[in-house]
């Protein structure tokens, strides 16, 4: 009953008020739309999270290629020739009947420093037995490891036997063979000896003898070494772990920020709640009178 009466008699705006409001609305602003603040805040938060994740991943992936290697210490080892690890190498034989400068380098691995000393002596014995000479021995040990370099001159006709026996002294790590034909050089020297006289002839004769000696004796360098001692080092930085570390650091920063800002936010929220309660109470009182 009462509600119907009230609705029927609802006050209506006077023509004067209507005109005032129309005048206000006449200068209508441009229909500029704004995104709601909540959506903006949500979008901002999402953007921050995405940026943090992306930066973490980006740094992690780039760090994968640029980061220093902290893996186990591995002594650089040249590729093994012909895959002949621990077996006799495929020796390039000297060309029969031709004068050649034959040089070979074998890199062998021996198990211990004691074996290193023993194999060095055996290498020297092999050279002598095959009619060669030892031109250099450099043996160095430290603790359980060590290295040795033995340079031998072996007659060119026994070079294959020498390499075969020397390669049995340890596990072959690498080998390098250089063969240079000396025929033309020696022939030129011979001609020079024939054509020259006096001191020049003597110099040329000495050079010819040196070259002939070199062509008769091959040069074999044998490097012996013990296995490298692996040093435990930190885990290698994979891109995933780097990204995870960065994200962890960001999370830590966020946690610290929360710990510092948390009480302030709590106090602020408390103040806001109190102010809101007071305002509502004030409004209630205002509307009760």
């Amino acid at each position: 009953m009462l509600p119907e009466l009230l609705v029927a008699a609802r006050p209506a705006a006077s023509p004067a008020l209507r005109e005032r409001v129309r005048a206000i609305a006449a200068a209508e602003p441009s229909p500029r739309r704004r995104l709601p603040r909540r959506r903006l805040a949500l979008a901002g938060a999402l953007a921050v999270v995405l940026a943090a994740t992306a930066s973490g991943l980006a740094v992690g992936l780039s760090g994968h290629s640029a980061a220093p290697h902290f893996g186990p210490v591995v002594v650089s080892s040249p590729p093994v020739a012909h895959g002949a690890v621990g077996t006799a190498p495929a020796v390039l034989p000297p060309a029969p009947g031709r004068l050649q400068d034959y040089r070979a380098h074998l890199e062998l691995r021996v198990p211990t420093a004691t074996a290193l000393s023993d194999r060095t002596k055996r290498a020297m014995r092999i050279a002598r037995r095959l009619g060669g000479v030892v031109t250099k021995v450099d043996l160095s040990t430290q603790g359980r490891g060590g290295t040795a370099l033995i340079v031998l001159r072996v007659p060119i006709g026994r070079v294959q036997d020498a390499i075969g026996e020397l390669s049995a002294l340890g596990r072959i790590v690498s080998q390098h063979v250089v063969i240079v034909d000396a025929e033309r050089k020696i022939e030129a020297l011979r001609k020079q000896v024939q054509d020259s006289t006096g001191d020049a002839r003597q110099v040329a004769q000495a050079q010819l003898q040196r070259e002939l000696r070199r062509a008769r004796l091959s040069t074999l360098a044998v490097g012996l070494s013990t296995p490298p001692v692996a040093v435990p080092v930190p885990e290698p930085p994979h891109s995933e772990s780097t990204a995870a570390r960065i994200l962890e650091a960001e999370g830590r920063i966020a946690l610290y920020t929360l710990l510092i800002a948390g009480p302030i936010l709590l106090v602020g929220a408390g103040i806001w709640l109190v102010v809101r309660a007071l305002r509502r109470r004030s409004e209630r009182r205002l509307l009760e009178t």
Binding site: L17, V21, R33, P36, L287
Partner: protein, 174 residues
């Protein structure tokens, strides 16, 4: 009209159209809240000035233009009530009482004088909830949102307000 449909409708609506459509409702609400039609006219004009400035920020997805205008009108009216209370305290003049006893009807054309007096006897808060729920026919949830209270509290407030109105009318007749 569905919520999405209403949002689309209000999105295309100009401020002028919204003002034209809801002026009477805002004015009626303010008239009940203040109990003074001339004050309600001033406050309505002030409300639409504020709304005009804030119109670019109006988000139809969060509520209708009517509710939005009512919220602005409420803030404007509360500011006026505060100022009025301070003025009354300062001057010890009961302006609302003077208005309520004036000859001009405050709450509508053609209301019985007894009902007019009964409405004037109500508090602004009681008249406000009647205006929102009865005159503007807002849903309980929407009215509660305008008032900043729960739906239950709004319902309770309306019941008490109507009960008191009936009581005041009965006493006036007696």
């Amino acid at each position: 009209m569905t919520h999405g449909g209403a949002a689309a409708y209000y999105r295309q609506m100009t401020f002028a159209a919204a003002a034209e459509q809801h002026l009477d409702e805002v004015y009626a609400y303010l008239a009940y809240l203040t109990g003074d039609r001339s004050v309600a006219e001033d406050l309505a004009a002030e409300t639409f000035e504020k709304a005009f400035r804030l119109w670019p920020r109006f988000d139809p997805a969060r509520g209708s233009a009517r509710v939005w205008l009512c919220q602005i009108a409420r803030t404007t009216a509360l500011d006026w009530l505060r100022a009025e209370r301070r003025r009354r305290a300062r001057e010890n003049v009961y302006a609302l009482h003077e208005i309520a006893t004036a000859d001009e009807p405050a709450f509508g054309e053609g209301l019985p004088p007894g009902l007019e007096r009964a409405l004037a006897a109500l508090s602004p808060g009681e008249r406000e909830v009647i205006a929102l729920r009865v005159l503007l026919e807002l849903e309980g949830r929407t009215a509660a949102r305008v008032l900043g209270i729960s739906e239950t509290a709004c319902s309770t407030r309306l019941s008490r307000a109507l009960a008191r109105l009936e009581r005041e009318v009965a006493e006036d007749v007696a």
